[in-house]
Symmetry: C2
Subunit: 231 residues, 2 copies
DNA sequence: TAAAACTGCGAACACTGATCGCAGTAAAGG
DNA sequence: CCTTTACTGCGATCAGTGTTCGCAGTTTTA
């Protein structure tokens, strides 16, 4: 039985006071990941950053997975849930999605996290609760509501990724990808691909990514929240 | 400069014939991942399965990443692209998405793959080209078309994950998650979450997941492909 | 004061991806 | 034909990984 970290108490009350805390571990790990990517978040690195040995971390964590859970929940806590709801589920969810996307942009490693089915700590739960509260006016069965949140999250991750690698010059791999894709498309075997890529840099003056995101999310939410219509 | 595997020739023409092929490596790795998960796909395991040492693999691959590229493209090749198009982008893309979801269900490790921005080998490119061809009747700028494919892919992965872990009894973690989520929701601090979860097992007789997928994708595609309407 | 529960951590284990260099083999060039 | 070139296979090895174990020390409870 491998319990989630959230189900275990952070501290007993018998022994000496612990030198660190889960929050501290999470903060160090997040900083490390922000600076050098998720791969840099190893038990040894985190321990070194804390000035201890690797084995000490296992007093706070059941393993590396728990550390990732902590990280995900820590950044979930950066999403402001104090804003008042307007009453329109589409607009309220969009505003939430915009704030969530900002977090993704601030912490690119979020997209690298092994996609566990659920990685919900206290902050993640609060986020989910907030989204469901925003969706309350819509007439939808329970599971469908969760589905909507999942779809929006997917859109957030998707657009954050696109927006990020469009801005900063991506890694080697990104450049190699583009080169390969360009020359392959130019070879003539993929006419539609070539056409789609050709329309990218030229043509329109590259729409504001924020506006594109807003329009897309609005459309998708409008379609998913359409109540009553069984088809 | 770290070139993609697709940009390097599989064989020179000077030395002795290679004992294996990229396709063989990919097949072995896929089989391994299907049986024991992506974590079981290590250079040593794959090499052992081939009856050689780990270092031999580096004659065929630049590294483990290349192996993952090969695997992804191999299963992308399982998607049947020979079906004729009906002419309605929404229905044609949905049919494609259904076939793609089947592949995800057959190879659960696809969801575990580190989400590189693009992991497109020949088969992946053919898939993309097919999707763009299906989308040809829609009046949409090029980048938007690529965005649509990305969103659909995200939906496919999303629903495949949900459908899979609903069928088979998930791992320990899944059970632990459910238990934790249930008791936390029951604690009363998350009323909307509790309501959404309560509606799940009882209430309606659990809609056919395939129908739910079809309805959702149709709605999303309908919203995204709505041409002309600038808002 | 004794027991229980806890912390910190050095040492070690079983892995991982990756590199290097050497022996052997096949084709190309003269 | 023989040399050169380019390739293959692979044992040995390196640095790094997550994780476990056991011991010494510390604080609280009984």
């Amino acid at each position: 039985m491998e319990r989630l970290i959230w189900t275990r108490p952070e501290r007993g009350n018998r022994g000496p006071a612990a030198g660190h805390s889960r929050a501290e571990l999470a903060a160090v790990a997040v900083t490390l990941a922000d600076r050098s990517g998720l791969a840099a978040v190893s038990m040894r690195q985190v321990a070194a950053e804390l000035g201890t040995g690797p084995s000490s971390l296992y007093r706070y964590l059941g393993g590396r997975n728990d550390l990732l859970d902590l990280m995900a929940d820590a950044v979930a806590g950066e999403i402001d849930l104090g804003v008042p709801l307007g009453g329109d589920p589409v607009e309220d969810l969009l505003a939430l999605a915009v704030r969530a996307k900002a977090v993704h942009l601030r912490h690119p490693w979020l997209a690298e996290l092994p996609p566990e089915p659920l990685r919900l700590g206290p902050h993640g739960l609060a986020y989910l609760e907030f989204a469901l509260r925003a969706m309350a006016p819509a007439r939808l069965p329970g599971p469908a509501r969760l589905e909507v949140v999942a779809v929006v999250d997917a859109l957030v991750a998707q657009f954050a990724r696109a927006q990020r690698q469009q801005g900063a010059a991506g890694a080697d791999r990104r450049a190699a990808q583009a080169a390969y894709l360009g020359e392959t498309a130019a070879a003539g075997a993929y006419p539609h691909l070539a056409a789609a890529l050709a329309g990218a840099p030229g043509g329109d003056p590259a729409e504001d990514p924020e506006a594109l995101f807003g329009r897309t999310v609005r459309r998708v939410l409008g379609a998913l929240l359409a109540a009553g219509t069984p088809d």
